[in-house]
Amino acid sequence: MLGGLYALFAMGLALMFGVMRLVNIAHGDCIVLAAFVAIGLALALPGAGPALLLAMVLPLMFAAGYVLQRGVLNRTLGKDILPPLLVTFGFSVILQNVLLEIFSADPRSLSAGGLESLSFALPGGIAVGWLPLVTFVAALALALALELLFARTRLGRAFRATSDDPEAAQLQGIDHRHVYALATALAFAVITVAGIFLALRTTVAPSDGPAYLLYAFEAVIIGGLGSFWGTLAGGLVLGVAQAIGFRLDPGWGILVGHLAFLVMLMLRPQGLFPRTRD
């Protein structure tokens, strides 16, 4: 069920790109950051479970995302696609080095008191791990929540309208700077969930970010732009592809994932479930 984790990775990226056409090159590093903030808090508060850690880190990351967008990234948005890429790339480098300074290069992880290795048996002799299942359910719930947010709420309408035509959106009384900042804040909240599930599942090191950006990006493209269900599907497809690859040969796991991505680009570049706009 690696797919659930990849879907979580991808959703924050899809959110920022969907609302602002902004590709956050530091996306993977932000997931790692969230994981390390949780790990740091866990070191300071031994006995704090992952749910409590999530509750503590979420508001911090939400606020950080809002401030980052409002203070820095809003200034990079315009006709040129380069400034946001350059700024977030720089941010990625800074993040990795700051984490390296604080935590050193040792990989660390979070503990859920044994939950992460528990499994239960399904009929037919299949054992399902608790953590992968919870991860998948979280990804499902988040996809549902984001779809409902975008489709049914005033904020979601503002997101869609601002994404279509920021100038016309301003003419309706929408403060686009605030809307963009909320989108990034929300993306950072999703990133936090992804980061904590990541740290529960495996060890995290400061330099792991770029690989996760790649998986997130592939999942978004495979799934298709414009729909969070698509992003969920893309994450699952990528996860399954990698799992198949790992089965064939431990060294091939990641490669098969990349191959699946390339095949998708060749056969159906718009992804599995694109929602065409304009």
């Binding site: 869609r160 016309a168 003419l171």
Partner: protein
Amino acid sequence: MSALLEARGLTAFYGDFQALFGIDFAVEPGEAVAIIGANGAGKSTFLKALTGLLPAAPECVRFEGAPIGGLRPAEIVRRGIAMVPEGRRLFPSLSVEENLMIGAHAGRAGPWSLRRVYELFPALEPLRAHPGNAISGGQQQMAAIGRALLANPRVLICDEISLGLAPLVVNAIYNSFPVMLREGLTLVVVEQDVGIAQRATHRLYCFQEGRVALQGQSGALTRDSISKAYFGT
């Protein structure tokens, strides 16, 4: 000092290019005022300056007595000026009904609601679930006007609403104006069609190369004087 919305000596620039050279303009509560002029005369530029899409000196635009020049568009909408932009600019990712609802984003109270907009433009109701751009030009124009009405503005600005529409459709849309005026709205319309502009409004301004070339009572201005002002002869 009683004008609801006025511009005094308004200048506007696109970078180094000066588009407006000191526009004086005023509209009283309950009036319908037209702005006509050739392409490039500065009409849309003027509207952009009024609605905050272009920078303006604070004192050069006054609304309800307060300076609003240079304020952000969202703030100007909140204060009570809404615009139907040129080309409609409905949101494709939103349905017709969602497009109308987003007009109310600023949350101003007033007589306009979704129900009242459907009463004014009955053709829209069966289309409510269609994507904003999957309807005809005339329907889009009605939806764009409805969207602006839902902001419950005091002043509604319409930028070239007859563009690209059949005369029958344009007439039907302009027939909604008396209803709006009865609800206490004040209207500013930029129009290419001089005849409609004269028939639908109380007063009229003619712009020419970034200046007001002529103004007066819509019914009293002669074709000849308008022609001279329009083309700058």
